[in-house]
């Protein structure tokens, strides 16, 4: 069970996350929706302490993770696998090494610095890649792969951490629809088959509805929706996004029809 208790994060005057309280049972798959700047990324980054909450508490299995320091903090980070929009692999390292990076927190520092990993870690890495249909590319440079392939490498790296929890920060925002499906179903099976809690920031409503039994909507740092896909009706969507999704149709005529009409009432 992951619990957030009244978590707030401010950057100077700006409030990124404003008094968020959530409890997320182990093994659940949760989609987090919201506009850019709604505080989704900050929320995930406070869980693995890449960002420090200004106030509030984050608890895993009843114990606060905010006091962790040094090696216990690194161990906690290893238990929270994180995935990123831009994959954040090392493009010049081969795929296998990128996956093995997921095991560095369990390995002696000096051994990792000379890139020494024992055979059993290599075996786990190649099996994780195989599970994602990527074993053939293990010795290629990561930078030569397509976006979808790179994100699958990132999943394998995350799995190498033996995580209890996966924090995926817009993992499909720079992928085409087909690759997005592949990555989302991989995350979904991770949650169902291994009982890993998955928190995934998303932009697409449809994807969230399809893959996430529980959806959280955020706006201006606050949770404005928390429920199942069925409960996410048009009014709720408007609450999350501030207006209806039909922005495309409003923009096109403004450019074509010369200085006569312009969408007034810019969203405050």
């Amino acid at each position: 069970m992951l619990e957030l208790v009244n978590v707030t994060k401010t950057y100077g005057q700006a409030i990124a996350v404003n008094g968020v309280s959530l409890s997320i049972p182990a093994g659940s798959m949760v989609g987090i929706l919201g506009r850019s700047g709604a505080g989704k990324s900050t929320l995930l980054r406070m869980i693995n302490r890449l960002a420090e909450p200004t106030s509030g508490d984050v608890l895993w299995q009843g114990k606060s993770v905010l006091h962790l320091r040094g090696s216990t903090l690194r161990a906690w980070r290893a238990r929270c696998g994180m995935m990123f929009q831009q994959f954040n692999l090392s493009p010049r390292l081969d795929v296998l090494t990128n996956v093995l990076v997921g095991s560095v927190s369990r390995r002696p520092t000096l051994q990792t610095l000379i890139k020494y990993f024992p055979a059993e870690e290599r075996a786990r890495a190649i099996l994780e890649l195989h599970a994602l249909d990527m074993a053939d590319l293990a010795l290629q440079r990561a930078g030569t792969l397509s976006g979808g392939q790179q994100q699958r490498v990132a999943i394998a790296r995350t799995m190498m951490q033996l995580p209890d929890l996966v924090l995926a920060d817009e993992p499909i925002a720079s992928l085409d629809p087909a690759n997005a499906e592949t990555v989302m179903s991989a995350l979904s099976s991770i949650s169902q088959e291994r009982g890993i809690t998955v928190l995934v920031n998303l932009h697409s409503l449809d994807i969230a509805r399809t893959y996430c039994p529980r959806i959280i909507g955020m706006a201006k740092g606050k949770v404005v929706f928390d429920g199942s896909p069925d409960q996410l009706d048009a009014a709720m969507v408007e609450k999350i996004y501030g207006r209806r999704k039909s922005t495309e149709s409003a923009l096109a005529p403004a450019v074509s029809t010369t200085l006569s009409s312009i969408p007034t009432g810019e969203v405050a």
Binding site: V101, L113, S260
Partner: protein, 310 residues
């Protein structure tokens, strides 16, 4: 232009007509341009004044070089050239007018040239090894604390302001003649300058890759090893090769102060006014640096090619 546009009261743009939005933007843009032009004018003025002062101080245009200064230069240039005889070019070194007579101490010079290269290589390798950890501390995005960054940067600047030859002069006094003071002097200079260059490469690195390792539970060293090094290694190698070229030139000069290498022959030739010998040694040094340039360029091309990935 409609008069209703007052850029100072732009509180509610939503009620503006489109022309007003355009006019407002244009007014702001021309204000910006005017400010930019004034700044430029001021900068040109300051630079002109400084340059004028510098030229005045250097006395380049106003000094009197003495009668027949051009003649003296001509005389010097003619003494720089060897007395070669076209039908005796390939005779032995005892024959006046042959190439070997000109390069009369070729064996020694080649030996000293090799020593010069060795000094340069050792100094570059050691300098790069020392500079690598220092460059982490001297990079704003990696330094564990601001004071560490500041201290390492300032020390590196301090060492860089000392020319290698001055360092060597001091070290020769401390260690005696020979290549050791030369190696130490060049190593110090190389460490300082590579620390700066490496640190700048580090600062340009994509920090997201380090963050990924951090989020996997990696410590500082592991973040550097897997997030940073793969990114910056081609750059670091390229800078080191560049520094190697500079160091060969530097090592050639070191002999002048007795710190090993070919420079000792240069200084001897000048002292004994053997200008043609000086020229011969100079040709060898230029040839060496030329070959080195071509080699390191080929290596650099390979490295940057790899960087683009294939």
């Amino acid at each position: 232009m409609s008069k209703s546009v007052d850029p100072t009261t732009n509180s509610d743009r939503s009620s503006w007509r489109l022309e007003q939005i355009v006019d407002h933007f244009e007014a702001e843009r021309s204000r910006n341009l005017r400010r930019g032009r004034l700044q430029q004018l001021f900068q040109i003025l300051v630079v002109t004044l400084l340059l004028g002062g510098a030229f005045q101080a250097s006395g380049l245009f106003s000094s009197y070089l003495g009668d027949g200064a051009l003649g003296r230069i001509g005389n010097f240039l003619s003494r720089l050239l060897p007395q070669l005889h076209h039908d005796r070019l390939f005779e032995d070194r005892a024959t006046s007018g042959s190439l070997l007579y000109w390069f009369y101490d070729l064996d020694l010079w080649l030996k000293l040239l090799a020593e010069t290269v060795q000094i340069a290589i050792v100094a570059t390798v050691l300098g790069a090894i020392f500079a690598l950890p220092l460059s982490f501390l001297a990079a704003r995005n990696l330094a564990p604390a601001v004071w560490v960054y500041w201290t390492v940067r300032r020390i590196s600047e301090l060492v860089r302001t000392l020319p290698d030859i001055i360092l060597a002069l001091i070290l020769v006094a401390a260690f005696g003649l020979g290549p050791i003071p030369g190696v130490i002097a060049l190593t110090l200079g190389t460490t300082a300058s590579l620390t700066k260059l490496f640190a700048e490469a580090n600062e340009a690195a994509d920090m997201h890759q380090l963050e990924a390792v951090q989020s996997a539970g990696g410590n500082w060293w592991q973040q550097l090893r897997f997030g940073l090094m793969p990114q910056v290694l081609p750059n670091l190698a390229s800078y080191s090769l560049l520094r190697l070229e500079i160091n060969v030139g530097g090592a050639a000069a070191l002999g002048i102060v007795g710190a090993g290498g070919i420079g000792v022959e240069l200084s001897r030739a000048i002292t004994f006014t053997e200008f043609d010998t000086y020229f011969a040694v100079l040709i060898m040094i230029v040839g060496l640096i030329f070959v080195l340039d071509l080699t390191s360029e080929a290596i650099r091309d390979r490295l940057t090619g790899l960087e683009k990935g294939a």
